[in-house]
């Protein structure tokens, strides 16, 4: 079985993000990068399937600048077998559609039975790429999975996906694409042997021409959306204590919440 995991290198969630003066990008200087935590769920699930079924290859695919190879190697350290790096200046400033177009073109070149992604990347928070890749590849997709079981025929699987207040159980054909929700698994810590073996595992680079795409289909040119402005959220205002007897204070609080904060 061949499982493809789409992963993204994102700023460490502990990093303080600053916006550049153009207000269209974040400042890259001094940022530490990690694999998006939801993508680690995807890799972990793929590795668990591999351990259960045997005879399985786990392939990780990412799009990004040269430094994104570190993210592929972090997945190798966990146990992934091989990687594809979609790296070309033409991919810069891709929106979700252009990203999905590029990923789908790459995955078409890889033999796959299952694609697993994080439910979203923790930088853009769009939750769109997984579904778009599935659409472009014309395969079923199940979002926010909490549990999965590949059937013995390896052509279908039973998948639980999270709903508000419950779970939905679906049977889905393979190949299909699943996106992972928190709680699906606990990603493993890379072992020392895994870390030391990362440089021995193969990474194949794909440029725009390798994928058979034109520069107009990818990056900023291939995007359907444009970032017009990026700005940090306003600083949180300090709390206010409503003084007085409880009966009066509650009335005052309700009034403030309705008229000032406009939350009720």
């Amino acid at each position: 079985m061949n499982i493809v995991c789409c992963i993204k290198q994102v700023p460490d969630t502990a990093t303080v993000i600053k916006i550049d003066p153009e207000e269209k990008h974040i400042q890259r200087e001094g940022i530490t990068y990690i694999v998006s935590p939801y993508d680690e769920f995807a890799v972990e699930e793929a590795l668990q399937i591999k351990e259960k079924l045997g005879d399985t290859t786990v392939t990780v695919v990412t799009m990004g600048p040269e430094r994104a190879k570190e993210a592929l190697r972090q997945c190798f350290a966990m146990g992934a077998d091989e990687g594809y790096h979609l790296v070309d200046d033409a991919f810069d400033d891709s929106d979700t559609y252009a990203t999905a177009t590029t990923l789908a073109a790459a995955i078409k070149k890889i033999d796959f039975d299952l694609i697993i992604c994080g439910k979203h990347a923790v930088d853009g928070d769009t939750s769109q790429v997984g579904a778009q890749v599935a659409e472009l590849l014309d395969i079923p997709q199940v979002s926010m999975i909490m549990k999965e079981e590949i059937n013995d025929d390896k052509k279908t699987a039973v998948v639980n996906r999270q709903l508000e207040g419950g779970e939905e159980v679906l049977e889905v054909q393979l190949p299909s694409l699943w996106t992972c929700q928190k709680g699906l698994n606990e990603p493993r810590y890379p072992t020392l042997k895994g870390i030391m073996g990362t440089k021995k595992k193969p990474i194949t680079d794909f440029t725009v021409s390798d994928l058979g795409l034109s520069p107009e289909e990818v990056g900023l040119l291939g995007s359907k959306t444009d970032v017009s402005k990026m700005y940090p959220p306003p600083p949180r205002l300090p709390g206010r204590i409503v003084e007085g007897e409880p009966e009066e204070a509650v009335k005052e609080l309700a009034k403030l919440l309705r008229e000032e904060a406009k939350v009720i």
């Binding site: 570190e70 190697r73 350290a77 810590y189 072992t191 042997k193 870390i195 030391m196 990362t198």
Partner: protein
């Protein structure tokens, strides 16, 4: 060429170790282990073993991974951020490294694979009444020839994790002579050997257990002798350098975390309508903490590199690092408590965990005064 920059693999190891200690050893766990005589749960120990950390320095022919001390140093720095309880330091560094450097082929084959897998624990019984790390201090514990081997008698103090060790490596005097550095031998002793009694001591840092080990006619076979009889001091000295380099990395991690705790608190604690970090007195203390933390990092990283490469100046580098880190870790953790005021002094706050680890580590394998003196001796005799 000096190269203390982390490789990509070391960065990954650092991230993995950071995630592990933060998730598996949160402050509640550390406090729990203070009250637990074992010092660590089997579950956490096994997880560390599965990650391969215990075999990091063990050569591949003994089922280890055979990596460098610089790699282990990365792990120790992260452990210092917790600060990590349990016998990892004693088993991997004191036990494992002494056996690697001094053990016979049979001893290495018998013990190192177990240490690498986390199935066997070992420690080094070195100190006696003399608090200084000197050959003259190995005085009262004596190994004398007996039937088929030796009989060991005497009391060892402050032996890390002896109560949970499977093997205790005992530094004992086998010959008296004019030169105290001569006549010291190492013996690999099964901790279940008759005549051996171990008492867990009440010490300041509950995360680093220390014991009194009483040898009373402990009979060991000739095969328990490690290396050449009477020639163990150079190896003990080398193991102490490795141990101190590891402790310095742990102290650096603890200083980083103490600084973070302090700055976070100074930003959020309001006094007179202002965060206390906006006041000059607190700002200066925080800036000084950062200065000594970064300086400690530099000297500790250099010591780790020197030990890893076994450079001729490694002993000097280690003494510089231990002298500096001992003083500065105590200062940084003390200032952390000062800045926090009342809350920093409470049992519930984590600040004291670091302060107590600082006090413990500064005295293990020679304090700042000892290492400054050692530096003078090395420089003047060169």
């Amino acid at each position: 060429m000096v190269d203390t920059a982390f490789t990509e693999e070391q960065d990954m190891l650092k991230r993995s170790a950071r995630n592990f200690v933060e998730n598996e050893c949160p402050p509640e766990y550390v406090r729990e282990m203070w009250e637990n005589d074992e010092g660590i749960t089997q579950e956490v120990w096994n997880k560390m073993a599965e990650l391969g950390w215990m075999g990091l320095l063990v050569p591949e022919e003994y089922d280890g991974i055979g990596m460098s001390f610089q790699d282990l140093a990365v792990v120790f720095e992260e452990m210092g951020r917790v600060p990590m309880p349990g016998p990892f330091f004693s088993s991997v560094v004191l036990g494992g490294e002494t056996i690697r450097l001094a053990g016979t082929e049979e001893q290495k084959k018998a013990v190192l694979p177990g240490i690498a897998m986390g199935e066997t624990r070992a420690t080094l019984a070195l100190m006696e009444c003399d608090p200084l790390l000197s050959p003259a201090g190995i005085e009262s514990v004596k190994a004398e020839p007996a039937a088929d081997g030796y009989a060991i008698n005497g009391i060892k103090l402050f032996v890390p994790d002896a109560h949970t060790a499977d093997y205790i490596i005992c530094a004992a005097r086998t010959d008296e002579g004019a030169d105290p550095a001569k006549g010291i031998s190492l013996f690999l002793v099964d901790s279940k050997t008759s005549g051996l009694s171990i008492e867990l001591l009440k010490t300041m840092d509950g995360g680093r257990k220390q014991c009194e080990v009483n040898f009373e006619n402990v009979a060991v076979p000739e095969s328990a002798l490690m290396g050449q009889k009477g020639e163990a001091w150079p190896i003990i000295s080398k193991v102490a350098d490795i141990a101190n380099a590891a402790l310095c990395m742990e102290m650096v991690g603890g200083m980083e975390k103490s600084l973070e705790l302090t700055v976070d608190y100074a930003k959020t604690r309001i006094a007179f309508d202002q965060p206390i970090g906006s006041y000059q007195a607190i700002k200066h203390m925080c800036a000084d903490m950062m200065l000594i933390t970064e300086s400690a990092k530099s000297v500790a990283y250099y010591a780790a590199w020197a030990v890893s490469e076994d450079t001729p100046d490694a002993p000097e580098a280690v003494s510089m690092a231990k002298a500096y880190c001992s003083d500065t870790y105590r200062k940084a953790t003390g200032d952390c408590i000062q800045i926090m005021g009342g809350i920093g002094f409470t049992w519930e706050h984590d600040a004291h965990l670091y302060f107590k680890r600082a006090r413990c580590n500064e005295h293990l394998f020679g304090d700042a005064a000892f290492h400054k003196d050692r530096l003078v001796t090395m420089k003047t005799s060169a």
